[in-house]
Symmetry: C2
Subunit: 332 residues, 2 copies
Amino acid sequence: MATIRDVSKIAGVSVATVSRTLSKPDKVSAKTRKIVEAAIKKTNYKPDMLARNFRTRKSSTIVVLVPDIANPFFSRVIRGIEQTAQSLGYAVLLGDTQGLRTREYTYANMVRTSQTDGIIQLDCHIPFEDGIDTSAPLVNACDCIRGTDIPSVELDNVTAAQKMTEHLISLGHINIGLITGPLSSTVTKDRLKGYKNALKKNAIAINDTNITVGDYSISSGTLAANDLFKNKTPPSAIFCMNDEMAIGAIQQAKKNGLNVPNDISIAGFDDISFAEFCDPPLTTISQPAEEFGTKAMSMLYDVINGNEPENKNTYLPFELIIRDSTGPNKRI
Amino acid sequence: MATIRDVSKIAGVSVATVSRTLSKPDKVSAKTRKIVEAAIKKTNYKPDMLARNFRTRKSSTIVVLVPDIANPFFSRVIRGIEQTAQSLGYAVLLGDTQGLRTREYTYANMVRTSQTDGIIQLDCHIPFEDGIDTSAPLVNACDCIRGTDIPSVELDNVTAAQKMTEHLISLGHINIGLITGPLSSTVTKDRLKGYKNALKKNAIAINDTNITVGDYSISSGTLAANDLFKNKTPPSAIFCMNDEMAIGAIQQAKKNGLNVPNDISIAGFDDISFAEFCDPPLTTISQPAEEFGTKAMSMLYDVINGNEPENKNTYLPFELIIRDSTGPNKRI
DNA sequence: CTAAAAAATGTAATCAATTACATTTTAATT
DNA sequence: AATTAAAATGTAATTGATTACATTTTTTAG
């Protein structure tokens, strides 16, 4: 493999000139530039990134921490990250953490060892209490941690969940079940708050047996729905905090001989691509998944370069998508 | 940030000894090892990977070329890759190519510039005709190119498609539609071959109007299905080359007032997690997605280290999953 | 045409680790 | 105790690009 020295010899110039031809061509006279470019072509020279990264002290790589790459919502976010990263000259390392702290640690440490220039975190645990390097360029996307000044791209989950709950109320539902995610995450807490807000606003009592906890998986949706169906007065509508759980809940409803939406309304969250093709098509909240990624990446770019991002906490818009899985309460 | 020199000073040994303590501890006496380890702890030293990678001439990074990270099958494969990579000391760069050759080029070139030590390719185009660096460690997973000696992890797509077609035939279907992917890929060609094999074996004439081309997206499934429904004698069963297209086809069937499977049987391929939760649940071929990833990664590891992988073309098992979207032909 | 300013180019240090080879220390053998 | 072999440690070169600073060349201004 040709090095910059080979090129400089063939072109009859110094290595500095070759380097400059590549990185600051306007600092080189047109004549030598041509000579050097010819030499580069002749030798098929490509700068060694290992050497360049080492010398410039940056990896031009960022890592994205994701609990599960196979989650269709996260994979769209990552697609957005990758696109913007590419256009900004960064490569994207995949940090599938499977929710394990040790793996988060491993990947977060890559900043300290210069393997990576920054971190985008899709579910938020870092920085840990016990003093992980907090100076690492870090941006949270989708989820966030309250009370820190870590830049984030979020949805107004409170309002979104409130809107969805109000949609169900507007259909005449009073007894509304909820299937949450793990209560540790801010996203879940916010959506729960939105659900409660809507009930309060409409003077509907909050019934704790209507609130069940899932883990954002399809199977947890079936389980939680089944629990709700066993209530003394089962809900006439269920709001699930993501589409997967809603799909699980629909399946369980059908298994129990219930028609969706005639006997029970079921709503989701995220608007994954399969939501539209469920039976019945799912009422849900759509989020601009790719935009979470692109925005997070450009914010991280700012942070890496020492610039305060414009909006430290950016909120992206959502949309209530009404399909056929929700309908009027017919039990009244 | 502490360097190896800081540690060596504090420990009162040479940098070589510090380096050895880390990489070949058995070459260092127990006494000095303890001293060095104490100094490392004291300084909170972490070796700079940029320097190490530069010096050792390897990035400890591999790149995975995937046409679309948001595809649920591919994202499972990637999960497998990531897991094995991690355990082998490799980081995984994400190369979402969106099917664009220029992006494939960009990522493939990372091997030449030492940014990455090897490539796993999930849809196969590289090496291109026009002489990209063929010496790059490369493994194909899921798809492959015939007539090269590039190691690959594959499914026996011919047999799998044949099995599925035979399943439909066994249900009494004779007029069987097919929705393929883009005909350029080996996977598609093989599945087409399997379909034809089954028909021939059962002395059923191959009807070209029964074969339509999709692009593995849901919407292409609806379109292709609609085409098939317009045939003079529409098929009583449709075999779709992936689950997404099957989901699209089911939707189109319902839209046309057809009951699945009573009026028409529809089958998919891949067994993505939503297949089980379709309405009706999808008959499909399940593939060990994660295993494609783990196997491909360990093969790539061999190739990178100059060892011929044991089975240059590894075949993974598949399983015919019969659910409710296929049933007896009632039009006879 | 000359002096000063600006532009272009070159020299060599630098980044932080690894490692071949040299040297010193320790252990083993007689 | 002397000799040899083995183990431990140290010295310094090396990796390939970038870049501060020095030097040379070109341009501009008077």
